[in-house]
Symmetry: C2
Subunit: 128 residues, 2 copies
């Protein structure tokens, strides 16, 4: 169970770590695409593109419907939601880090204001 989940998130993040595959995902947000259509914008052989699509499929990000000789691919955003959720665990850390940065900037402002207090002030009152 946990094994399965671990395996899945491994494959999802790995699938996302390649620009070609990310581009294909973007393309699939615009609708269903055949293998050929997905391959077309990329300067590589069809076989190579086919492998990329298989990686996306393996990560559960793409579903394929075979209609005769063409393979229709569509986006399955589920694993993206999983990855998004996984990252959300860390949301607290980057927001508090931004808070800390903001705090430092305020300190800096206060320091500047303090320096200005020793000089003839030009504009008052924004040191809250």
């Amino acid at each position: 169970m946990v094994e399965l989940y671990t395996h899945k998130i491994d494959t999802v993040f790995h699938a996302l770590s390649d620009a070609t595959r990310r581009h294909m995902l973007r393309e699939l947000t615009r609708g269903e695409r055949t293998v050929g259509q997905l391959a077309e914008p990329h300067a590589m052989s069809l076989a190579a593109a086919s492998k990329h699509i298989k990686v996306l499929e393996g990560a559960g990000l793409v579903r394929r419907e075979i209609q005769g000789r063409i393979h229709l691919c569509r986006l399955d955003p589920g694993p993206l939601a999983t990855a998004h959720e996984w990252l959300s665990f860390y949301e607290h850390f980057w927001t508090t880090r931004l808070d800390a940065l903001e705090h430092l900037l305020k300190q800096d402002d206060a320091r500047k204001a303090d320096q200005n207090a020793k000089m003839p002030p030009s504009k008052p009152g924004n040191d809250t």
Copy 2:
């Protein structure tokens, strides 16, 4: 610029695609850790763990402060925020997919309700 961004998100997703590295990140949410401390829970050599930490560093996920002979690592959640943001683009797709699922379930409920209408009903009124 875009190159840089692309390279970065590549390395971030790649860094996240390994369970050992994800575990190290989790550990770092609990506070600063030395290389040895990060390596300890994992059944591998220090050199191997050191390489993992370098991958995290390369993705900008970990910062290192060298204090004498020990290297203190801390989490830098910034790139996680970037990845989270990247995934958010697709949020619409998984939520509308859930909406569609919900819609299907409602249809199913309606179908069942319709079937039940042909039978003596037992419990009324939850088909909104």
